[in-house]
């Protein structure tokens, strides 16, 4: 198999993982796609080293997280101005975007729908809450690592994650939590 074919196979194998990681961090499909493409372009440059390495998935994950965080910090000002300023309260703190609580229909939701709901709730969290939450729960980073990556204090990381969890629970509703418990 040629390098191009091998790389295409790798691309197919990892595209969803890379895209999901970027998407959950930046919460924007077009930006997540750009970041994912950049990740694979970098992987291609080092394909000779990566193709036989069992840790290629970890490498892709790390590069995706780093590029996503770079992207968020690079475009923070512009991004805040256009999209997040609208979601700040009078004290200037970010607040979550409101969307209709699903309590009325939750019993009829299939597992897929519930996952969509979680994804949607996650996407609608304020960036400062979403990013540490995703890094902690989905990427398995420790509080200290998140603080170092984001350049913020440990206390702020804990507070942001706590607030994000509270918001998620509020959004997803108690019935939905019950559904998860009964699923296990």
């Amino acid at each position: 198999m040629t390098d191009a074919k091998q790389f295409e196979a790798l691309l197919r194998d990892y595209q969803n993982m890379v895209f999901s990681t970027a998407m959950r961090l930046v919460a924007n499909t077009a930006e997540a796609e750009d970041i994912s493409q950049e990740v694979f372009l970098r992987a291609f440059e080092r394909f000779s080293e990566l193709k036989d390495d069992a840790r290629v998935g970890g490498w892709l994950k790390t590069v995706t997280i780093n590029l996503s965080l770079n992207h968020l910090s690079r475009y923070r000002a512009r991004w805040s101005f256009f999209s997040e300023m609208l979601h700040q309260n009078a004290a200037g703190e970010e607040t979550e975007i409101e969307f209709v609580a699903p309590t009325d229909v939750v019993e009829e939701l299939a597992a897929g729908d519930r996952r969509c709901l979680v994804e949607q709730a996650l996407r609608q969290l304020p960036r400062t809450h979403r990013v540490p939450l995703v890094l902690f729960h989905l990427e398995g980073l420790k509080y200290e690592e998140i603080a170092a990556k984001l350049g913020i204090s440990l206390g702020k990381v804990k507070t942001d994650i706590f607030r994000a969890r509270e918001t998620l629970r509020k959004k997803l509703g108690p019935k939905l939590q019950h559904e998860w418990r009964t699923e296990e």
């Binding site: 895209f19 493409q37 390495d53 790390t62 590069v63 989905l138 969890r165 509270e166 998860w180």
Partner: protein, 161 residues
């Protein structure tokens, strides 16, 4: 969090609930055509004008520098013609800097003279041998440089993995 008087047990329960909710999430599907778009981006090199200046083709870089330099010369000449008084004043204020440049030029001229004198007295054989030795030394430096850069990149790659 502690400031708000949150019960640690409730906090742990909340963490558990959210972990369950999030860790059960499957990967999102990448957009349709993502593989094709990425593969075509790999095959299509970025146009030189979108790359950094250092990676532009040599001819384009030389042309760019020439045009930029010509622009500066034309601007200075035009300025001298249109505003001779202002130009003279500016030249006067820049005289110390220009004298430094002139001094540097004198040093270079003296060095060139010394080299020319050396070539005359040392003979062609010696000069040729010195040139070959200098080339060999440069090649050795370039070789070591390449080895160290590759070594450093390999280490950074491993640490990233």
């Amino acid at each position: 969090m502690e400031d708000r008087g949150v019960n640690p047990e409730l906090e742990q329960e909340l963490e558990r609930e959210i972990s369950q909710a999030l860790q059960g999430l499957p990967d999102l599907a990448a957009p349709r055509g993502f593989v094709a778009r990425t593969m075509s981006a790999l095959e299509r090199p970025t146009p030189w004008r979108l790359r950094s200046w250092a990676t532009w083709p040599m001819a384009v870089r030389i042309a760019f520098l020439s045009v930029a330099l010509a622009g500066v010369v034309v601007a200075v000449v035009e300025w001298r013609a249109v505003e001779p008084g202002l130009f003279a004043a500016a030249y006067h204020s820049l005289a110390p800097v220009l004298s430094g440049v002139k001094c540097f030029g004198n040093v270079l001229t003296a060095l060139a003279g010394a080299v020319a004198l050396g070539v005359e007295h040392l003979g062609k054989g010696f000069i040729l041998a010195a040139a070959v030795a200098a080339l060999c030394a440069s090649a050795v430096c370039a070789g070591f440089g390449t080895i160290f850069v590759r070594f450093a990149l390999a280490r950074s790659g491993r640490s990233q993995l």
